[in-house]
């Protein structure tokens, strides 16, 4: 089998084998033969950036492609982005998948496929299902329609309701190796090999992040600025100032992305209501337009907050990678550095402290990451973190 739709799912050979077997058995089922490798509900898990949604949509495409996912035909091109009538891809934009989305999926699931033997519904970030919408989805999975296939994605099986986890077949993805990611960057995005390997290392196997670092100058500049932070913590005032800088930069980056998404969404909504040449809506229409707009703006606000936190988290991950490297040098371990290009700086940090200091700093970073996601004021978290990076033992007297 050399179905090439799988070709840029890097470092996931085991998962690909299982999914290809499923596609092959799906064909047997279509002919009325037994096909045990195929089933109606899947849960694809893996660390962020390992390509969960990519694996899920490729699987969907392979099921509806007449040639089991040739990777060349229109079906293979359109199905992964939801452009095939028998494939529904749900990409939750908000922080939660709410009941009305699941309700819509229920209707889609009940429809027979039109152009292929299967109707595939892909739910990215199924970990954002709420208890309520999750239970609703469970009902659909428990009573499957003959030709419907559910493909859910989540970081791990523990992130979805146990009842959903127990009714789905699991495919788990690994963190792809640095070499795999670098190869992908060179092959698919034409990135210069040395930049590709730097981006692959820095992203620690997160493909999307690697691509951003390899192709987006701003992302690279921000990362470099973040990694300089530990060298600039001279006194409390600089700690507070650094914290403010990181918070500010995160907000800026998140706002830029959020603005774009918000505008596009509102534009789409407007186009739905305002027909060509219409400049004013009738009363009843305007009311429903305004209601929808308000709902949308509420959701957009939630998303913006989440994006800011994601940006802060990204900076914290970069700092974690730096101190992980420091620890490796301090322990004399023979392991590749994530930030190889910063080796002199890493050496400098390794020389001024002990491994015990570094472990405490890594602990502070882990603590800060959890604090950010749990809704603590970002500035306060970062200030505390900076103080702890400067003096890892300060918490003992706090």
């Amino acid at each position: 089998m050399s179905a090439s739709i799988w070709s840029n799912l890097v470092g996931q050979d085991l998962a690909i084998t299982s999914l290809q077997a499923a596609v092959a058995d799906a064909r047997k089922l279509e002919r009325g033969e037994p096909g045990p490798a195929m089933t109606h509900a899947w849960l694809i898990t893996g660390p962020p950036g390992s390509g969960r949604s990519s694996a899920a949509t490729k699987f969907a495409a392979a099921l509806v492609c007449p040639e089991d996912g040739c990777g060349r035909c229109n079906v293979c091109r359109l199905a992964p982005v939801g452009g095939h009538p028998d494939v529904e891809v749900v990409v939750p934009e908000g922080s939660e998948i709410l009941i009305d989305i699941v309700e819509r999926l229920r209707h889609i699931a009940a429809q027979a496929p039109t152009q292929s033997p299967w109707r595939v519904i892909v739910v990215e970030d199924a970990d954002r299902l709420t208890d309520k919408s999750g239970s609703q989805l469970l009902k659909n999975i428990e009573e499957p329609t003959a030709h419907t296939v559910w493909v859910l994605c989540a970081p791990s099986a523990a992130d979805v309701l146990p009842t959903i986890a127990s009714r789905t077949r699991h495919i788990s993805l690994r963190t792809p190796s640095t070499a795999n990611v670098a190869e992908l960057l060179v092959a698919s995005y034409g990135v210069d090999p040395s930049l590709a390997s730097l981006a692959a290392r820095a992203s620690q196997g997160h493909i999307g992040r690697a691509r951003a670092l390899a192709t987006d100058d701003d992302a690279r500049i921000r990362r470099q600025r973040d990694l300089r932070v530990p060298f600039q913590l001279r006194d409390l005032a600089s700690c507070v100032a650094m914290a403010g800088d990181i918070a500010e930069a995160s907000k800026e980056a998140a706002n830029a992305r959020a603005d774009e998404l918000d505008d596009a969404e509102i534009d789409l909504l407007k186009r739905r209501y305002y027909a060509e040449g219409v400049s004013k809506l009738e009363k009843s229409l305007r009311r429903s337009y305004e209601t929808e707009l308000r709902e949308m703006e509420k959701e957009q606000k939630r998303r913006r907050t989440r994006m800011i936190k994601d940006e802060v988290d990204r900076s914290l991950i970069d700092l974690q990678s730096l101190f992980r490297d420091v620890l490796i040098l301090q322990l004399g371990a023979d392991i590749e550095l994530i930030n190889e290009e910063l080796r002199p700086g890493v050496q400098q940090l390794a020389a001024v402290g002990t491994s015990a200091d570094t472990v405490r700093r890594l602990g502070a970073l882990e603590h800060a990451r959890r604090a950010v996601t749990s809704g603590v004021t970002v500035e306060s978290v970062l200030e505390s973190l900076m103080v702890e990076l400067k003096d890892p033992w300060v918490r003992a007297s706090a």
Binding site: L236, V240, A371, V376, T377, V381
Partner: protein
């Protein structure tokens, strides 16, 4: 005799509302019709409002929404203005922006008295507005009292104006002093938080704890906690940033660099003098405060704390941070 037409125009709603009530009060006409020009029924409403009255008495027609008028409504208004009925006094309200320019021009041409309601910016412009308000009430308020009041309420013009009204009603001292303002706001959580924070960074544990208990009694641990921690974080940020400034800056420069009002500078300078020799405790306070921000909101283990435990932790925090190390 006021003009038969008044045009109230500009983006600041508070000022528009104010202008509207003063104008209506000056007209002293009981019969009022309000026509919302943005609705589809505007043209009909307007026509009905301008009908002659049974006893030939005067009416006020208040037309709102000139900035985005319904097409038919706009035409009707233009028609009415070109041949204005004698018994109608007009109050036209435009919420700012470029919309409805044709109407604005027509209203002005009809001899309107124009009241501009420009947006009030944060800071000095707002303080000036408040000062004007105090003067209009024939009262006096010291500048630090007014600034403290502004800081306590935050930049919310409707709240600022209505609150000021209330304050001037309740406080009979003249001029109103900062002590009056503090006393007046003793039961309001964010003001209490601001006061507690002041005492903490002054390292006055007794006053800090007293103010905290007072606020806990008055408004409960929920809002007291969140507000106090937030205010302490802000206070801390300012004190630490002050420590990082170069020496010998003028008060105005310090205020500008720290983003605080000038009257606060001497407080911050005093607070810094009490911490400058004790950076380690200050660093520890930063860590404690970030943790407190988590548990007071129920994150990172805070969910298991009940209200009594939160109150206790809060008192411990305030005491520990403000205690003098010696």
């Amino acid at each position: 005799m006021s003009a038969p037409i008044t045009l109230i125009i500009g983006p600041e709603q508070v000022l528009r509302d104010q202008a509207r009530s003063t104008t209506l009060a000056a007209l002293a006409i009981e019969d009022r019709y309000t026509v919302e020009l943005t609705t589809e029924s505007a043209a009909g409403d307007l026509r009905a409002a301008c009908e002659p009255t049974l006893f030939g008495s005067d009416v006020v027609v208040i037309v709102t929404g000139l900035e985005s008028p319904d097409d038919a409504g706009a035409e009707e208004l233009l028609a009415q203005l070109s041949d204005p009925p004698d018994h109608v006094r007009w109050v036209c309200i435009h919420a700012g922006g470029v919309g409805g320019k044709r109407l604005v021009d027509a209203v002005k041409k009809a001899g309107a008295e124009v009241i501009e309601c420009k947006a009030i910016k944060k800071g000095r412009a707002t303080l000036e507005l408040l000062t004007a308000e105090v003067t209009a009430r024939k009262r006096r308020m010291t500048s630090d009292a007014l600034a403290a009041y502004y800081l306590a309420v935050g930049h919310n013009l409707p709240m600022l104006l209505s609150g000021l009204d209330q304050l001037l009603d309740d406080v009979t001292d003249d001029p109103v002093t900062i002590e009056n303002v503090q006393e007046y706001f003793a039961g309001v959580a964010d003001v209490a938080g601001w006061q507690i924070s002041g005492h903490v960074w002054d390292r006055d544990a007794v006053k800090a704890l007293t103010a905290l208990r007072h606020s806990l009694n008055n408004v409960g641990v929920g809002s007291t906690g969140v507000m106090t921690v937030a205010a302490m974080s802000r206070g801390l940020r300012t004190v630490v940033a002050f420590g990082g400034l170069q020496q010998g800056l003028s008060e105005a420069d310090v205020a500008q660099q720290l983003g605080i009002p000038p009257w606060q500078v001497k407080d911050v300078r005093r607070q810094w003098s009490r911490w400058s020799g004790d950076q380690r405790t200050l660093a520890a306070a930063i860590v404690s405060l970030a943790d407190a921000d988590a548990w007071i909101k129920g994150g990172l283990g805070g969910a298991s704390l009940d209200d009594e435990q939160k109150m206790f932790e809060l008192e411990m925090l305030v005491t520990r941070v403000s205690a003098r190390a010696n």
